[in-house]
């Protein structure tokens, strides 16, 4: 446990088997964090070990130490790290992935933004799901906004922009058809209200949810497109920046900062950190979740 270790090294135990995990994985965890900003907590280290295990099999690496050498020495270390990141973030995509994030959104952030914008004539909320993959996050946001349409967001227009680099992902996202695995965190209430059954064990998002979202292909490194995507209140960019090198990451993040309205929020994945790449955003905590805040103009905190 890193938070407490003061003396010596502690045995690492796999949460499932109870067996000790090779301490090299802790080194790999630190490397992954340094390069990508993804932090694999100690109790989830076995997941990292599993991911490494699959890669080791492919590469024919015999021990975690061999694999460490491949991860850290040229040539091919960048490519291998990318493969590993793929392995360890796989399966993180599902609808309603982070309830604390949604709670913060509906209980703290929305009331704040609504209060701030109350004097504006057009009541419009703009959300961007940047790197939307196959659409799970975008639809989750849309459904949650619809839930507020008779309360906080009464009389408001909600627009969600959902973009991804990958054409095929965007097409899948547009279809909005999901199976049990993607729906594992979706409650019966939401399933009934916002989905229809299309085939056995598959549900499709209803048109009234889709109506809120505009899907399109976008490369976050395309400067001109980034410059024109303005006026956002919320930006979500989950497990996307982890694949970028430091310089490109900084660039995208400063674009996001200017794409946001004053008082807007930027969310990363739940175990992802911006680290020290930007000093304009304020790191803020909500119960169980972290976000980056572009302080409101009048708060004078810029």
């Amino acid at each position: 446990m890193t938070i407490i270790t003061q003396t010596g090294t502690l045995p690492l135990a796999s949460a499932e088997s109870g067996e000790a995990v090779d301490p090299v994985y802790r080194q790999i965890r630190d490397l992954v964090y340094k390069v990508s900003g993804i932090y694999k907590a100690e109790e989830k280290l076995y997941l990292l070990a599993d991911g490494c295990g699959r890669r080791m099999k492919q590469l024919g690496a015999r021990t975690p130490r061999d694999y460490w050498d491949q991860l850290t020495s040229q040539p091919g270390r960048d490519g291998e790290l990318r493969q590993l990141l793929n392995e360890i973030t796989i399966g993180e995509t599902c609808l309603f992935r982070s309830q604390p994030q949604l709670d913060a959104l509906r209980k703290v952030i929305l009331p704040e933004i609504v209060a701030e914008k109350t004097k504006q004539i057009t009541k419009r909320l703009r959300i961007w799901s940047a790197g939307c993959s196959t659409g799970e996050e975008s639809y989750t946001l849309a459904m949650n906004m619809l839930e507020e349409s008779e309360r906080l967001l009464k009389g408001w227009t909600v627009e969600i922009l959902a973009t991804d680099l990958n054409d095929r992902s965007v097409e899948t996202a547009k279809a909005g058809i999901y199976g049990d695995y993607a729906l594992r965190s979706t409650t019966e209430y939401f399933r009934r209200k916002y989905f229809s059954v299309v085939e056995e064990k598959k549900l499709q998002v209803r048109p009234e949810v889709k109506k809120l979202i505009a899907f399109s292909r976008l490369n976050l490194q395309d400067e001109s497109r980034m410059l024109f995507t303005k006026g956002m209140d919320l930006i979500f960019c989950c497990n996307v920046l982890i694949y970028f090198d430091g310089a490109s990451k900084s660039k995208v993040i400063s674009h996001f900062f200017s794409n946001l309205n004053f008082g807007g929020y930027f969310f990363l994945g739940t175990s992802e950190s911006l680290m020290k790449l930007n000093d304009q955003f304020h790191l803020v905590h909500f119960p169980g979740t972290i976000a980056y805040w572009k302080p409101s103009f009048k708060s004078g905190k810029l």
Binding site: M1, T5, Q6, K107, V108, P111, H285, P287, G288, W293
Partner: protein, 302 residues
Amino acid sequence: MTASFTETIRERVQGIETMPAIPAVFLPLLKLLSSSAEEAKVDEVMRLVSYDNTIAAQCLRVAGSPLFGQAQPPKSIKGAVISLGLRRVETILLTCCLGQAFPAKKWVLDPVVFWRHSLGCAMVCRKFSEKLAAADAEKAYMTGLLHDIGFMVNCMVFSKEFATAMERACREEIPLDEAERATMGFTHCETGQALAERWKLADDVIEVIAHHHAIERSEKAQPLVALVHLSDLLCRMRGLGYGYYERHKVDLIADPAWAILSKEYRDLEGMDLVRFTFELDEAVQEIHALVATVFGSAPART
């Protein structure tokens, strides 16, 4: 706070000392912890522990937790002193005593929730002060553990009033001290201070108990009060709060406490707060387990 409140609090706190539940070891131990490190005596601690088998056993269990940096649980109190140092053993003992120090009945705040918060805060305070290379990490631990002791006073001698405050905090999802002030006219800071003075705790410990929600009032121990204030906020944002959702946005770096600390400790600037947060998450499970061991005998809410 009006003079009559102060008087009422003092009168009711006077009664606490006569309650039978405080372990005999507790007050002498507090006295030991208030003395300077040079005056600390191993024999004295050993003698105190020998009076109480339950506490000795609990102490060994806690000392063996990875949260205290041990791979192997110590076999005796003496062994614990050798591997962990006298000060740490003293604070562990204090932790165990506290679990038994208060009467079972009239809990308004769920004791398990309360101890998770207190122990969590103690851990975060210690880790935080280690990161800052601050002089006395064990002092930080101890003040973190004791900072909310006023809630116990509330439960014991203002249970009806405090129940109203608690109910309001849960209903409106507001910070507990706000609800106390609104319904009772005073908070756990004042009641805790009265008890701490009665117990003749060290001045800086009293200041933490009295001012952790209003650091500007602290005269002699501002950096320590600031450290506990920030740790308390962080715990409440990471699942170690008071058992209900607080609609709260916490900007630790913009908090005046952060500025006070960074004036005192240069290392604060380089600290990776997000990683620190993730590391706290790793400790949460073990904190739950420890609370179950040490405070498990505390009966559930009546």
